[in-house]
């Protein structure tokens, strides 16, 4: 029993210490963000690997999620004779929930794990150490551009995902299932509010962008500098980001749509 308690205590202390380390780490990285404006090119290159390279999976998933929503939504609504509301249903589910959340989960799998592995390998091969010895702070040079790129890319990816979902649901709904095209858009426009739905979706994806990128770069920076450590850190990134995104989504939803 005492053993068990001790184990629990040790586990809790280790978590707290790690959270503290992660916070200090974030502060040091944030201090490096202003300098990034002068080194715009670094940011652009990270936007490429974090944003552009995630585009394919986001586009494909967005289209399929939209098509499924169109089909399922139609099946449900047609029982109530309310298939004209398909646009509303699809747009609300995508802008409020599915867009930000699914994008963040895909981001964790595609870009987050890559960030962790990249930084972890740089640590394992002493590249970070050698950078420090060259009097270059890796927090600024390596981590800050990657964090900023993640935060910028997430809302853009989420918007692309959401829009493609709405468009593909439109195609499925009107071409395949015979929903009236005018009703699809007008019902949607009447019931989707910019502030309540679109803007809060953007805020969500910004928060997810910060959290997902933070977890990814910290796991990489804090990993054991061995091949096993890097692989474990990569797994941690995907698992922790997914859990954090889903948990935060509940909290944000409760706060924004009370």
């Amino acid at each position: 029993m005492i053993r068990w308690l001790q184990g629990l205590g040790a586990w809790t202390l280790a978590r707290m210490a790690r959270l503290g380390r992660a916070s200090l780490f974030l502060l040091r990285v944030l201090a490096g963000l202003p300098g990034l404006l002068a080194r715009f090119r670094l940011l652009v290159h990270q936007l490429y690997s974090v944003g552009v390279l995630s585009l394919v999976i986001i586009v494909v998933s967005g289209i399929f999620v939209g098509m499924v929503l169109g089909l399922q939504g139609h099946n449900t609504l047609v029982d109530f004779g309310a298939e004209d509301s398909l646009g509303t249903l699809v747009a609300l589910s995508l802008t409020r929930e599915l867009g930000p959340v699914v994008t963040a989960l895909l981001f964790a799998g595609r870009a987050g794990s890559a960030l962790t592995a990249e930084i972890g390998l740089m640590k394992a091969t002493e590249q970070l150490s050698s950078m420090e010895m060259m009097a270059v702070d890796p927090h600024r040079r390596v981590v800050a551009p990657r964090l900023a790129a993640g935060v910028i890319a997430m809302p853009l990816l989420s918007a692309i995902f959401t829009l493609l979902g709405i468009l593909s649901a439109y195609v499925v709904g009107t071409e395949l299932l015979g929903v009236d095209a005018g009703a699809y858009w007008s019902q949607m426009q009447a019931n989707v509010s910019f502030y309540d739905d679109i803007a809060s979706g953007i805020i969500k994806s910004l928060v997810f962008g910060v959290v997902a990128s933070w977890i990814a770069v910290f796991e990489g920076f804090d990993c054991m500098p061995t091949s096993e450590g890097v692989s474990r850190a990569t797994t941690h990134t995907v698992v922790n980001t997914s859990l954090a995104v889903l948990g935060l989504d509940f909290i944000l939803t409760a706060l924004m749509f009370d």
């Binding site: 091969t125 010895m133 009097a135």
Partner: protein, 275 residues
């Protein structure tokens, strides 16, 4: 070689009564080492004695538990991060595997410290990078990525990068380990020549006795967290300390036992029943 260089004995690094422990394990317990300007100083000892740790302590990446480390008169262990980074611009370090940035070409690797710390024009950077690469004989390899280089070449590019900012001090972490005889010879020659031609001071951490002895002006042998012998290579070769003899002559058994401490073999294999 090179023992005839006898400059004014001006210390560059002074380590006094250094204590450092990793967790429970004491790595250094009272180490005193002085590195003089213009010399090649070797730190030798068996693997696992914390030679690399010593370099990290000098570079300020680790802080000692007690004692002091001065580099060019400044207390490395007391410096603020800013001051430490300023001091590090005057040091170069060659990591064991080179630690080149894998996403940059050799050229960009060598240009990296120049771009980070200077506002030189692209043309000037080009000239400097080519000069540094020429110094290590790899000007022709400038478009290659680190993955396309052999281990020895990667170390030479890393050396070019380490001297890009014309440091006063270059530290080498196991420069000879895992090298074929030819690239080992190249590195031995490079370390000595760069030291003399550029007016550097060098600290070489190694356990390769013959190569190190060939270029070092002064050797410190570390074991069990202490410096057990210091002096010129000749002096160490003639020492009568059995420990140093074992190390310098590479004898398998001696004061450092071949066996890791363990209960007697009979006791373990016969289940502790043996008389």
């Amino acid at each position: 070689m090179g023992t005839d260089t006898a400059p004014a004995e001006e210390p560059l690094i002074e380590i006094r009564d250094l204590h450092f422990a990793r967790g429970e394990r004491a790595i250094f317990s009272g180490v005193d080492i002085t590195v003089y300007r213009g010399e090649v100083t070797a730190i030798m000892g068996p693997s696992g004695t914390g030679k690399t740790t010593l370099l990290r302590l000098i570079g300020g990446q680790l802080r000692p538990d007690a004692g002091e480390i001065r580099v060019a008169g400044e207390r490395v262990d007391r410096l603020s991060r800013r001051a430490l980074y300023r001091l590090r611009r005057r040091m170069g370090m060659l990591f064991q595997a080179g630690a080149l940035f894998t996403d940059l070409t050799c050229y960009e690797n060598v240009a990296f410290p120049l771009r980070e710390h200077t506002r030189l024009s692209e043309a000037l950077i080009h000239q400097l990078v080519l000069l540094k690469l020429e110094a290590v004989g790899l000007r022709g390899a400038r478009h290659l990525y680190p993955a396309e280089l052999s281990g020895g070449m990667a170390r030479r590019v890393a050396l070019a990068r380490a001297i890009a900012l014309d440091p006063e001090l270059v530290m080498y972490d196991e420069p000879f380990s895992g090298q074929d005889p030819i690239s080992m010879g190249v590195l031995v020659k490079l370390i000595r020549e760069l030291n003399d031609a550029l007016g550097l001071s060098s600290v070489v951490v190694s356990h390769d006795v013959a190569e190190t002895a060939a270029i070092a002006d002064r050797i410190h042998v570390i074991a069990d967290g202490e410096v057990i012998a210091s002096g010129s290579p000749e002096a160490l070769r003639d020492t009568d300390s059995p420990w140093v003899r074992q190390f310098m002559d590479a004898r398998p058994d001696g004061p450092v036992p071949f066996h890791y401490p363990a209960p007697s073999l009979a006791a373990e294999t016969l289940g502790g029943e043996a008389p």
